[in-house]
């Protein structure tokens, strides 16, 4: 995958993804050319329970009211793989490699069957989590980082990646108030111990560090997720709006013919 140092700065206002936004990170899928597709891919990343879903729901409503076609896609939601992943999780036979590969298969299915067709048709694709979650989870489990980046070389670099940043203490409060701690989100498979609370704290701490370490490499737009939902949403809309309709921010120059 391309690191920021090899990527020339984007000339598109608000496009933090650099010049590779909308293109494959690595070797891509040779039989699927995605050049010049009109759609936009916007990823919302962040750890478990950080509030991604509500933000996406609100953003979707806002975009649709403004006349955009929007589809959502989310991790492990592919028709092909969801039952298999659930089955494998419950069977205790998953190891870190098969775990990674099952997620990658799910992602490949959604990419080919949902994301790419939608981009071709000019939709805005809101992705609840993207490959960064997979990279973070696998990184914590000790899977080779370069191998992971090659593996996900078939992924499309989003036009925007929002990262909802939170500290473990706030996260613990939120998760306990809502649905409680779950086996995988607590990294119990890493066998840090029998105590789910301790395991959750250790695991999520390491996960947050992994996400942080990717912030520059993948042009994360970091949002402070400790703030109220509305404040975060305002910030999201501001940035998404500026990216989608930069003309509204600056009146269109008549003579220069500047394309934005």
């Amino acid at each position: 995958m391309t690191s920021p140092s090899d990527t020339p700065e984007s000339d598109e206002p608000g496009a933090n993804g650099g010049s590779i936004a909308g293109r494959y990170y690595g070797r891509g899928i040779p039989y699927l050319s995605i050049n010049d597709y009109p759609g936009k891919l916007i990823a919302v990343e962040g750890t478990d329970g950080v509030g991604r879903s509500i933000q996406i729901q609100l953003l979707r409503e806002w975009l649709e009211v403004r006349g955009y076609g929007v589809i959502e896609t989310g991790w492990t939601r592919s028709q092909l793989m969801q039952p298999t992943i659930e089955l494998a999780k419950s069977s205790n036979t998953l190891n870190k490699l098969t775990f990674v590969l099952l997620y990658a298969t799910d992602f490949a299915d959604r990419l080919e069957k949902e994301i790419i067709p939608a981009l071709k048709a000019g939709f805005i694709v809101l992705s609840d989590r993207y490959i960064f979650t997979a990279l973070a989870r696998a990184g914590v489990r000790g899977v080779d980082r370069q191998w992971l980046r090659n593996l996900y070389g078939f992924a499309i670099a989003p036009h925007m990646v929002f990262y909802l940043n939170v500290d473990v203490k706030t996260l613990i409060g939120r998760v306990l108030e809502s649905r409680g701690m779950d086996y995988w989100e607590s990294g119990m498979d890493l066998k840090h111990g029998d105590d789910i609370y301790d395991s959750f704290r250790t695991y999520q701490n390491r996960l947050l560090k992994e996400y942080q370490s990717m912030a520059d490499e993948f042009h994360f737009r970091v949002l402070d997720a400790r703030r109220p939902v509305d404040r975060i949403q305002d910030e999201l809309r501001k940035q998404v709006g500026a990216f989608l309709e930069p003309v509204e921010k600056a009146p269109e120059p008549v003579l220069t013919g500047n394309k934005v």
């Binding site: 040779p30 039989y31 092909l80 098969t98 590969l101 298969t105 490949a108 070389g153």
Partner: protein, 167 residues
């Protein structure tokens, strides 16, 4: 892509549960197909060659890789002689090259065989002429294996695990 990744997942599972443990125990593992199948098949389906190789970089490199080479006509003839229906993916029907399964098989597997020819050089595979009789082939195989394995007569046979992959 999903076809490629699902096979890789299956392979990773078998590698970690069925291949590496017996290797650690000093046993001989016979693998009926290996990563090379994926290299040939996935490339024919249009997946990036280098990407598939990197994907499988977690695989153990075999001490000996045998490639049973056969012309496509012989392959088709043998298959048609013993069964009527070709499997959908085996015939590459998913690629939509032909609605006739036999024709599709011929086109798809023909390209797969071309890929194998490149793999032979790239990975130093030993080629066995699969047109010859079973006895001749088996003698060739035994001669090749004898170069790698010290077979001791009269000893209790070394543990052996046969490992199959469905296509």
């Amino acid at each position: 892509m999903t076809f490629s990744l699902l096979h890789a997942t299956d392979f990773a599972d078998r590698l970690l549960y069925k291949i590496i443990p017996p290797l650690k125990a000093g046993m001989i593992v016979l693998a009926d197909r290996y990563a090379y199948t994926a290299f040939a098949r996935d490339a024919t389906r249009g997946v990036d060659r280098q990407w598939v190789r990197e994907l499988y970089s977690f695989a153990v490199r075999p001490d000996l890789a045998l490639y049973f080479r056969v012309p496509i006509d012989v392959s088709v003839e043998r298959l048609m002689a013993r069964r009527v229906k070709l499997k959908f993916y085996e015939a590459g029907m998913d690629l939509g090259w032909s609605t006739n399964p036999v024709e599709s098989f011929r086109m798809f597997q023909g390209k797969v065989l071309d890929e194998y020819d490149h793999l032979v050089d790239e990975f130093g595979m030993e080629v066995v002429d699969a047109r010859s009789s079973i006895t001749t082939q088996q003698r060739t195989v035994r001669a090749l294996i004898a170069q790698h394995v010290q077979l001791r007569r009269g000893d209790a046979p070394a543990g052996e695990i046969t490992h199959d992959e469905s296509v």
